[in-house]
Amino acid sequence: MALLLAGAAAAPAYADCKGLKIDNAWIPEAPPVASVLAGFASLVNDGDQPLHIDAVDGADFGSVELHQMSMEGGMMQMRPLQGLDLPAHGSVALAEGGKHLMLMNPKHPFKAGDASLLLFHCGKQATAARFTVKAAQP
């Protein structure tokens, strides 16, 4: 019984987003005073059903937004995204110069080697991914 309870307590609060795989998850190291950090990763949907990621959050950040960066006529532009769509057996790259996570109001400074757990929500399910902080490569 005790074992069963311990097992239940350790179980994640959410069932995983079916088919979602999150790889190469990293955060470029930023100045300690930075009030926003970027998050990059490769998202793959291994499943037969399309996935919609409607939100991302993590205990280390006040809030997390999804952004699309683009260059229009010499202008650097950023736009908030309403979630991410992953077709069945499709993928989306969160990468420099494109889509990224905007990790806002970090609760403490991060330096290279640190890590942070982020949850990708798809409806009632969510998949956790460990993001490691690395020195940005110019």
């Binding site: 926003v36 809030s63 650097m76």
Partner: protein, 205 residues
């Protein structure tokens, strides 16, 4: 009658010739060619402006005189391209060696609402203690923008605090006479930037 026509014709031909010569003089290619952007044929004067440096001192046109300046327009709530560009400028500064002392790198924030000079300075000095960080009231940023050819715009975000800024992405080159000399445009390559800036510095010394 035909004599008169002939003299008009000669006069017209002469005028065209003068025009071509004048054009060649005015529009002659700049003596320095850069790989990473464009140099103006003639540097453009800049009107007076008054911003605030992160060091607590005013930052005015006088601060642009006497050395080359590279101005990068951005803001600290920009997680992707701004820190990447600042990290690249740090690599450029290192690559310039002794010539780095002849160029001032300026991070100009177009988000004075969130980037106070103090916080902006801390952010910028993480990349290099020699980088200057400046910002100022929108009216002054607009004057400088009109003179240097950069634009910026506030874009609503998911919450009132998480608004975004669109901004020009080019690095702005200012010559030692405080004139607008040209632009370096992305994608930036560290080695090309170093070689371009070395050329500019050496030409003007």
């Amino acid at each position: 009658m035909s004599n008169r026509l002939l003299s008009w014709g000669l006069l017209a031909g002469f005028a065209v010739l003068i025009g071509i010569v004048a054009g060649l003089v005015v529009l002659r290619p700049a003596s320095v060619q850069i790989q990473s952007g464009t140099l103006l044929q003639q540097a453009r004067p800049i009107a007076d402006f008054s911003l605030n440096g992160s060091d607590g001192k005013p930052f005015t046109k006088a601060d642009l005189a006497g050395h080359w300046s590279v101005i990068y327009v951005g803001y600290t709530h920009c997680p992707d391209v701004c820190p990447t560009t600042l990290a690249q400028l740090k690599a450029v500064e290192k690559g310039l060696g002794e010539d780095a002392g002849k160029i001032r790198f300026v991070f100009l924030s177009i988000d004075p609402e969130r980037d106070t000079p103090g916080a902006l300075g801390q952010y910028t000095h993480y990349f290099s203690p020699d980088f200057l960080a400046v910002t100022g009231p929108n009216a002054q940023l607009d004057i400088l923008g009109a003179n240097l050819g950069f634009v910026y715009a506030k874009v609503p975000g998911a919450t009132p605090q998480s608004y975004l800024m669109d901004h020009s992405s080019a690095l702005i080159l200012i010559n030692p006479k405080a004139g607008l000399a040209g632009y370096l445009t992305p994608p930036f390559k560290t080695e090309a930037l170093v070689s371009d800036l070395k050329q500019l510095v050496e030409k003007s010394s």
